[in-house]
């Protein structure tokens, strides 16, 4: 069998599928736990974009399971998808999928996470290290506003099994230490579990006797856990962070219990990816190349991947309104009680 092709999987071999297959895009989202965005935002925006273009799509979530990821990919290729848009769980497993797809002549777009050594045709993303940097520099600004230009900072990182968490951490740790602060506590939260995050942070706080000038939390869920501990301990003056601009995160930002969150204009990212995919599904490679003007180096192979790169945005009290204006959420969802309504008014959040 050594002379066989390097895959056991392929497209729909069913005889009933021999006719010209219509444009069909398969999308694989990574999980539902690491971040709110995949199910609440990406699924919707991508789905809408495909529907608007009249392209059939199949959007699945691998729930953090690589075997499932591969299975879904098999199914999609099998069902006749002619473009794959994937968010990898890790590079090698996704590389295998890309390899399979390529052998069947199906182009793959890396969405949000670059598959190192994978050789995807295109890459659409926010840079995860840049997201981390946004968290870090946001925290630095908050700490400076509070009058602390140096001091101890605690890091509450994402899941130790999640490579993105590692990338985020690279970003904010560098931003914080570069600004002259000291990282004294630094722990990861298994599975991004908010309850565990509460306990872990509570113990960091106990150990340091609350001697922090700021806390970097890797997403809004963890930020919420930090905020609840700080409230219980009567230490609400210590700024903390988050990511994803979830409703709860934004609410805390408005109320001042979380200093900053990071908004990734997911709709923009999704739209960009969808346009690329639609072009490819229709066989319009030139059109796709026109959209992907950037370049990112695959550090493993040294190749350049054609990319669409987007900028993450720091959100503080003042610019919560931008997120609403962007259609990412609505004022109704955020300004839900009296205190929040007041804060919304003060910061011009409406509509």
């Amino acid at each position: 069998g050594d002379d066989e092709p390097t895959t056991s999987s392929g497209g729909g071999g069913g005889s009933e599928q021999t006719q010209e297959t219509p444009a069909k895009v398969g999308v694989i989202l990574p999980d539902a736990a690491s971040s709110a965005r995949w199910e609440t935002a990406d699924r919707k925006f991508l789905g809408d974009a495909f529907k608007a273009a009249g392209v059939e799509s199949d959007i699945q979530n691998a729930n953090g399971d690589k075997a499932k990821f591969a299975t879904i990919a098999d199914q999609m290729l099998n069902a006749g998808a002619n473009v794959l848009l994937i968010v990898n769980l890790d590079s090698p497993s996704a590389a295998a999928v890309i390899n399979k797809a390529k052998q069947q002549g199906v182009p793959v777009i890396d969405y949000d996470r670059l598959t190192l050594g994978g050789g995807a045709s295109y890459y659409v993303s926010f840079d995860n290290v840049a997201v981390g940097t946004a968290i870090g520099s946001g925290l630095v600004k908050c700490m400076q506003d509070a009058g602390n230009s140096s001091g101890n900072v605690a890091l509450l990182n994402g899941s130790p099994t999640d490579n993105n968490a590692t990338l985020f951490k690279q970003g904010y740790e560098k931003a914080i230490t570069d600004a002259g602060y000291t990282v004294t506590e630094d722990q990861s939260v298994p599975d991004w579990d908010n309850t565990k995050a509460g306990t872990i942070f509570e113990q960091m706080f106990t150990k340091a006797k609350g001697d922090f000038v700021g806390v970097a939390a890797a997403n809004d869920g963890l930020g919420g856990a930090v905020a609840s501990v700080l409230k219980r301990e009567g230490a609400t003056e210590i700024p903390t962070t988050g990511q994803d601009a979830t409703d709860e995160g934004l609410q805390r930002v408005l109320l001042g219990t979380q200093c900053v969150t990071v908004y990734k204009a997911i709709k923009k990212e999704a739209d960009a990816a969808a346009q690329l995919a639609i072009a490819l599904a229709k066989g319009d490679t030139a059109g796709a190349d026109k959209l992907a003007t950037g370049q990112v180096e695959d550090t493993e192979t040294g190749e350049q991947v054609k990319s669409v790169l987007l900028e993450p945005q720091q959100i503080t009290k003042e610019n919560v309104k931008d997120v609403v204006a962007d259609g990412f959420t609505t004022a109704d969802k955020i300004c839900t009680n009296e205190a929040l309504q007041k804060a919304c008014e003060e910061n011009g959040v409406s509509g």
Binding site: A32, A36, T195, K207, A208, G224, E233, G234, E248
Partner: protein
């Protein structure tokens, strides 16, 4: 056929037995020692485990581990596991398992969050809704296990999956629901006024004393042998010292230096847990239902032949298990100030089962008590509390966690092995 000698032998053989001996403290103490030597350890291994852990962590991190603040933290952190484990004790006593309890907790939290925050219900209504969900889940599991006879491992694995899905649908995938209701939040975030704390101590001690003396009087009236008054006095005295010491610790101010607020008093969750322990222990030890639970767990066929409605007992146990899981979920929501799809879940369940087993509950049914959940939960909580103080690497934390769990369990196992050797 028998001589007078053997007749007197017969009587004496048969009279020296009804439970507590008549003797004084000395005899009671030596009797206890005999029991320990014979391997009847009760909660002792778990308590010893907890004490050893406190000493070790105390030596490694005296400044942060051995503080009043951390003691209060510990109680808060362990409460949900303890309550979940209490519920599991009922299920484990039957020789069954409920793998879904962690997600039941999460589902309860989710229902609480949705009704409270999204629909603006009053908190008692929300809590009632959550608890009712628990009853429904328990009932559904029990129907499948007790009536259809599907193994509880499989049924609860199915619910494990199903409830995980339900949570995702309720909360919205990847979403979070904030909890802002003060009543719900205060359980895990506020403390009792100092005076009330002392009152709690008083009630516990007086209640225990009253119960002990009342039981003694009944036995005496029935002409059965009773322990000496002095033994009871020592028991009550010992309890009083421990309770007062713990409450006193919690009554100290424990905020960090220069903090803008004062933190002191017994966390509200403590009376809740105490009340649950008392009520559930009563249920298990002093009612027919409790007796039947043990019987079904010990020998289901014998229980059936004794006319016990085995499916009914199983059903009630699963309902209790799920409902207590919901209570645990509410505690988690209160502590996190929010609910997300990771609230509760598989790990929480494993810790809770671990707690029950370390406390001394058997997975094969028939052996276990409610306080097991508390002592075992304490061991688990101390590990979770102490580890992040000692090391920051999560890989290392996982490993130490496993090692400590093993250590705590071996104390128990080795002592029980001795018990088996002496034939108990």
């Amino acid at each position: 056929m028998s001589t007078t000698q053997s007749d007197s032998a017969q009587v004496s053989q048969f009279d020296l037995e009804t439970t507590p001996g008549q003797g004084g403290i000395g005899e009671a103490a030596s009797g206890y020692w005999e029991r320990i030597k014979g391997g009847d350890l009760g909660a002792l291994p778990a308590v010893i485990g907890a004490v050893v852990l406190v000493i070790v962590f105390g030596i490694m991190e005296p400044d942060s581990f051995l503080t009043e603040q951390n003691f209060a933290n510990l109680l808060n952190q362990g409460a949900a596991i303890m309550v979940l484990a209490m519920g599991l004790v009922f299920v484990l006593l039957l020789g069954e398992i409920d793998l879904s309890a962690g997600f039941t907790a999460g589902t309860g939290a989710a229902i609480l969050g949705v009704t409270l925050t999204n629909h603006g219900w009053a908190w008692p209504l929300s809590i009632a809704a959550a608890l009712l969900t628990g009853v429904a889940i328990g009932l559904a599991i029990a129907l499948l296990v007790a009536r259809l006879g599907i193994p509880s491992f499989v049924v609860s694995l199915a619910f494990f999956l199903g409830l995980q899905g339900a949570m995702l649908l309720i909360i919205g995938e990847g979403g979070t629901i904030p909890i802002r209701d003060d009543a719900v939040l205060s359980v895990m975030n506020k403390n009792m006024p100092v005076a009330l704390g002392w009152l709690l101590a008083l009630i516990v001690i007086a209640g225990f004393a009253f119960f002990q003396f009342w039981a003694m009087r009944t036995r005496k009236k029935a002409g059965l042998p009773t322990p000496a008054i002095s033994v009871l006095a020592v028991k009550v005295g010992a309890l009083a010292v421990v309770v007062l010491a713990l409450i006193w610790l919690l009554q100290q101010e424990r905020q960090r230096p220069n903090a803008p607020i004062v933190i002191q008093g017994v966390p509200w969750v403590v009376p809740l847990v105490v009340a649950l322990v008392v009520v559930l222990t009563f249920l298990l030890m002093r009612t027919s239902f409790g007796r039947h639970v043990y019987a079904v767990g010990g020998n289901a066929e014998a229980a059936r032949r004794a006319g016990i409605n085995v499916p009914n007992i199983k059903t009630l146990c699963f309902i209790l298990g799920s409902t207590l899981a919901i209570v645990a979920g509410i505690l988690l929501a209160s502590r996190d100030n929010s609910v997300s799809p990771t609230t509760g879940g598989a790990q929480t369940l494993l810790y809770a089962v671990g707690a029950a087993v370390i406390g001394g509950t058997s997975l094969f049914g028939g052996r276990g008590r409610i306080v097991d959940a508390v002592t075992g939960g304490l061991v688990v909580a101390i590990i979770a509390n102490g580890l992040p103080l000692v090391t920051q690497k999560s890989g290392v934390q996982f490993i130490i966690n496993g090692l400590v769990l093993l250590l705590a369990a071996s104390v128990d196992a080795i002592s029980r092995r001795r018990a088996a050797a002496t034939g108990r």
